[in-house]
Structures are given as C-alpha cells and as structure tokens.
Amino acid sequence: MGTKLSVSLEGALSPETAPRTDRPPTFDPQAGFERPRKERVMKATWEEMEQFRLKPGQRDYCAHHLIDLMKCQTKNAPFAGHACDDQRGAWDKCEYDDHLMRIKEYERERRLLHRQQRKELA
C-alpha cells in the first residue's frame, strides 16, 4: 500500500511512536469511529474444523472457505486439478482481505500513537 519503506524508516528512526508488530494493538478497538465496528464472526464450527483436522494456524476467520475447498477436493479426488479453482480463489481472497485488515490495523495504531504523542507534547 505504498508504506513498504517509509513506515519502516519512520519506525527505525523514532521507535517511541512505532507500533509493535509482535503484539496486539494497544488502543481501544472502538475508539475514533463514529459508529461501532462490527464484530468478526466465525462461520465454521469447531466440530467441522476438528473433522477436517485443520491446523491451529488455519482455524481463522477464513476457515469456512478452506473447508469448502477440502470438500471439493475430496469429491474430485484423486485429481482435483482446476475443478476446485473457485473455492481456492474464494479462500485466497478471504485471506488477502484479512491481510489488508492487518495492514489497516497497523496504520490505525500508528496514527493513534502519533496523536497520543502530539497530545502529550501539547
């Protein structure tokens, strides 16, 4: 999103206002929004994830797409090929949107930290 070098440079030069990427955001999730944010809901149940033996890293908010993909693969086994491309594309898009949300969280955290510093200095 155009922040590859600039944000890292900013983070390296002034580490006090750089968000930490190894821990969750430190501010209130609802702060600054005019209307409340929607909660993220899991669409795949725990029993389904257990049945398909998903790894802990795969049990995220895109697991329902992954389960659809696995169902399609077992249906077209042993050579699924391009028969499951739609499901894989849906899963990839969901993961991509999740990554974009992570980047947006970083940017929000960074702006809130800058704002906090401005308020402290003022």
Binding site: S8, P19, D60
Partner: protein, 200 residues
C-alpha cells in the same frame, strides 16, 4: 629412447625406400579407419599442378606450400603441409582470436603436431603453475562466500521492529487464543473478540 634431434634426423633419413615395403612406417597414413572420409590427406604431390591443387585444398599460398618429407617415416603424411613448430607463444597475443584460449581462429590451418604443442600442454607465456597460489584460491572463494554470509545475516534477522522492506502489519487475528491453551487446554475456553473495519 629419446635421441637428440640432430642425431634423430640423421638416423631418420632413409637411404633405402623401405616405406614401399610397408615396414617401419609410422606416419598418419599407415593405418586405416582413422580419418573422416574427407579429412584424409591425399597422396604426395608429384608435379606442380598437384602442388597447386593441394595448396588450394589446404588454403595456403602455393609458394608457402611445403609437404612433409617423403623419406621421413615418422612424419610422412601425403600432401599435408609442413608448417614447422607452431605453438601458442608464436602467435600474436593481441589479435582477436575466435578461440582465445588456443590462439586460433575458426577454420585456421593447423600443423600436424598441433596436439603436441597445445597451449594447455606446452607454453611459456600461458598458464603457469606458480600463478595458482593458495591465496588466489582463497580469494576466489571468499569473494563469493563472504557477501553471501553477510547478506544471509542481514536477511535472517527476526526482530520485527528493525528497518524492513515490507508492508508492516499487526499480528493475525484468531477467534481463540491458541497460544494460551497450549499444550493441553481447550482453545474454546479462551475466545477473543475481534472487530472488522465495517461499521454498523
């Protein structure tokens, strides 16, 4: 038995043409099946016409053309020309050769002893054994491995807050706290509330 060249030349002169009897012939024409069909040298040129034809065949000027001595049992090679000894060091070092390592152009005529005087076999100005030093070997390896190791060190740093070329992102959001439940807990006991950027 290695004789000195002058003595060998005297002894090699035949006063009786035993080559016709098929004895003591060691030249390249004495055995069959060696040459590709068109590469075998022709018979010794007898008259001027044959000499001119042979010179044209080998791509030399007729006045430069000199076949091997017919009486020489070792070197006799039909109408193949005799250039004398031509080595790597005889050639011009600054000419732009097509084969720089052998100092020869493509299609250039070679003497019949070419394989004996090859540059990787015999040279005074070419490759020298004393130039292959231990320090040279070490430099060749080090100038590849040292940058490789330095770059590996730089690219394998795991601190998330150093100067990085990537889209910085917060950690991935999961519905349950798997790390807290590890190893024997049930992650369903530790749910996490996450929010998206869609507003109600």
């Amino acid at each position: 038995m290695n004789l000195a060249p002058p003595l060998r030349r005297v002894l090699a002169k035949r006063y009786l043409h035993l080559t016709l009897l098929g004895r003591n012939q060691r030249g390249p024409l004495t055995f069959d099946g060696w040459y590709p069909r068109d590469h075998k040298p022709g018979p010794y040129p007898e008259n001027d016409e044959q000499r001119r034809a042979a010179a044209t065949k080998y791509g030399i000027r007729p006045e430069d053309y000199k076949p091997m001595n017919k009486d020489d049992p070792i070197k006799y090679a039909g109408d193949y020309p005799d250039f004398g000894v031509v080595t790597f060091d005889h050639k011009d070092p600054y000419e732009d050769y097509s084969d720089r390592q052998m100092r020869r152009n493509w299609g250039e005529m070679v003497s019949i002893d070419m394989m004996r005087y090859r540059p990787d076999r015999l040279t005074f100005t070419g490759l020298n054994e004393e130039d292959y030093t231990y320090w040279g070997h070490f430099t060749i390896m080090a100038r590849v491995l040292v940058p490789m190791l330095v770059l590996t060190y730089l690219f394998t740093q795991s601190d998330p807050n150093i100067f990085r070329w990537q889209n910085p992102a917060m950690p991935k959001q999961y519905p349950y706290d798997f790390a807290r439940a590890f190893p024997f807990g049930d992650p369903r006991d530790y749910p996490i509330k996450n929010y998206s950027f869609d507003l109600e």
